[in-house]
């Protein structure tokens, strides 16, 4: 009988603190990322593909603007920074928007799960996936393209990647707050990221002649990530992220967090979950859903 099947709750299963829920969220977010082709393509395939393709079209070339280093020596940290931006920013915009439009966030808001635990889970998964992607890109650069990681560079390199992942994750949540449909999440993400990446020296060394462009890219979040990774990779232990780079990233992180707190909606804002005669989405319970 169905009535018999609906058991009493099992009181031997103890309560879990919000902090104890974070690992479960990270695990599930990782499972979702691993099982979905789009995040794997965004975070891993795109940077690796670009690394190999750009190296193939520039065989044995050197970069005069960087003192004559081989292109592969520049490309390896550059594509690692692109992997950071893809995992932290693009994947967060796409994944968060999709979860909202599917009604997943709305349902979660009706459960006792604190909103910060959900976002911490996403951030944790982003850090793991981003780190994995950076590692793959770097290993390919070192082993197949014969780039060299400067002695003692691994620590600063990892620190720069982590700082970049946190900042780009916050920016991803903020942009997800403004994107109104899952369909537009990917094009909007790349429409924002690619121009910034180009002027920030992610794909080619940043132009030094145009001072205004250099000043602009210095103030944007991609350049600190790219330059910090490049410095750590090429020059090693003494070249971790600078205070200025960390301040720029912290500023963007705080600004993005504020924007998300103001604008982020947990209910679908359009698409197939638009319901009823009115279809308007308002901020769901417990509002102030900040990352």
């Amino acid at each position: 009988m169905i009535e018999d099947a609906l058991s009493e709750p099992d009181l031997s299963l103890g309560p879990r603190s919000p902090l104890a829920l974070v690992p479960g969220q990270v695990r599930c977010q990782l499972l979702m990322l691993v099982r979905s082709p789009l995040p794997a393509f965004i975070t891993l395939v795109v940077p690796v593909m670009l690394l190999v393709a750009l190296d193939l079209v520039t065989p044995e070339m050197t970069l005069r603007s960087l003192g004559g280093v081989r292109v592969a020596q520049f490309l390896t940290p550059a594509m690692a920074s692109f992997a950071v931006l893809n995992a932290g920013f693009v994947d967060t915009v796409v994944g968060t928007t999709l979860a909202r439009e599917r009604g997943i966030l709305k349902l979660l808001r009706a459960t006792p799960l604190p909103s910060w635990v959900y976002l911490a889970g996403r951030l944790g998964a982003t850090l793991v996936v981003g780190a994995g992607s950076v590692a793959v890109v770097t290993l390919i650069g070192l082993n197949l393209l014969h780039a060299h990681l400067a002695p003692g560079g691994l620590g600063p390199f990892a620190a720069a990647a982590a700082a970049g992942l946190v900042a780009s994750f916050a920016l991803g949540v903020a942009v997800a707050a403004l994107v109104t449909s899952a369909d537009s999440a990917l094009p909007v993400s790349y429409a924002i990221l690619l121009p910034i990446a180009f002027i920030s020296g992610v794909f080619f060394p940043a132009p030094t002649e145009a001072h205004w462009l250099r000043a602009l890219s210095d103030a944007l979040p991609a350049a600190p990530v790219a330059r910090a990774l490049e410095a750590a990779f090429a020059r090693g232990a003494a070249h971790g992220p600078t205070v200025h780079q960390l301040l720029v990233l912290a500023g963007w992180t705080l600004g993005a967090t504020g924007l998300a707190a103001w604008r982020f909606s947990w209910a679908p804002t359009g698409g197939r979950h638009r319901r009823g005669a009115h279809g308007t989405s308002h901020r769901p319970p417990g509002t102030a859903p900040t990352p």
Binding site: P15, C28, A267, H278, P285
Partner: protein, 299 residues
Amino acid sequence: MPGVIEVRGLTHRYGRRVAVEDVSFCVARGEVLGLLGRNGAGKTTTIEIVEGYRRPTAGLVRVLGRDPFGGDRHLRSRIGVVLQSGATEPTLRVRELLALHAGFYHPRRRVSDLIAAVGLEGEERTVVGSLSGGQHRRLELALALAGDPEVLFLDEPTTGLDPEGRRQIWAVVTSLRARGAAILLTSHYLEEVEVLADEVVVMQRGKVLVTGSPDALRSAAPLGTSEIAFRTRPHVALPEGPWVVEVTRGGRSVLTTREPLAAIEQLAAWARHHGIDIEQLELRRPSLEDAYLQLTAEP
């Protein structure tokens, strides 16, 4: 006894447009309230306000004595929600998703018990995205039961289910009601509301049109409370009587009447007098669906 769900004078506007106006109802422990209305009647806005997703423009809403909007973790641990549209992560497996949600609650049910309750045995390792529509709906109900909800919001919970699946869900809802849960239900299946609901609120154009038990609603239907159906000779003109001839097709006549005994007596006398056979005579009360359609008929 105070209601577990209390709604008094609820009004909600979108800009200048009034979506819900002066809606009041109350759901006690161990009671199921059915919220009915055509699309655009204000049901979704009402239920979303009671669930805590929207702040009402005016009026008082209390769930377990608290304002659901901005509901704290404690309140949310005592409610279960089945949304109108599916809201689950398609790449997780059934067991993974249930374990994730169950972990939010204390007390909570075991995942295997939840799977058994909604009849998803054998699907534990199935990826959510590959479940059928009916299985997906069962999963959503299981998610809502993961804790020990004192209040359950079911927004069209059996949409897409086959008759067997629907009855399984009904049994779960009945079981929950017997345990004292207060349940707010919307459904397009009037038969479902008739079976499950103790009270029904019918909304029209944002307002409460009528409130009462399913029995009371049948009686409130304007065209009558009983139907007499029968088959007779084709093209026979029926006499005047205390009835309204509602449908005559396929040789079967349907009379709607408030005086079923007098109507049958008069009909029988007329048939005997003219030597007309009346076959397949059937007397039935209108279903809730009949009453609902009559009540909400637009002029």
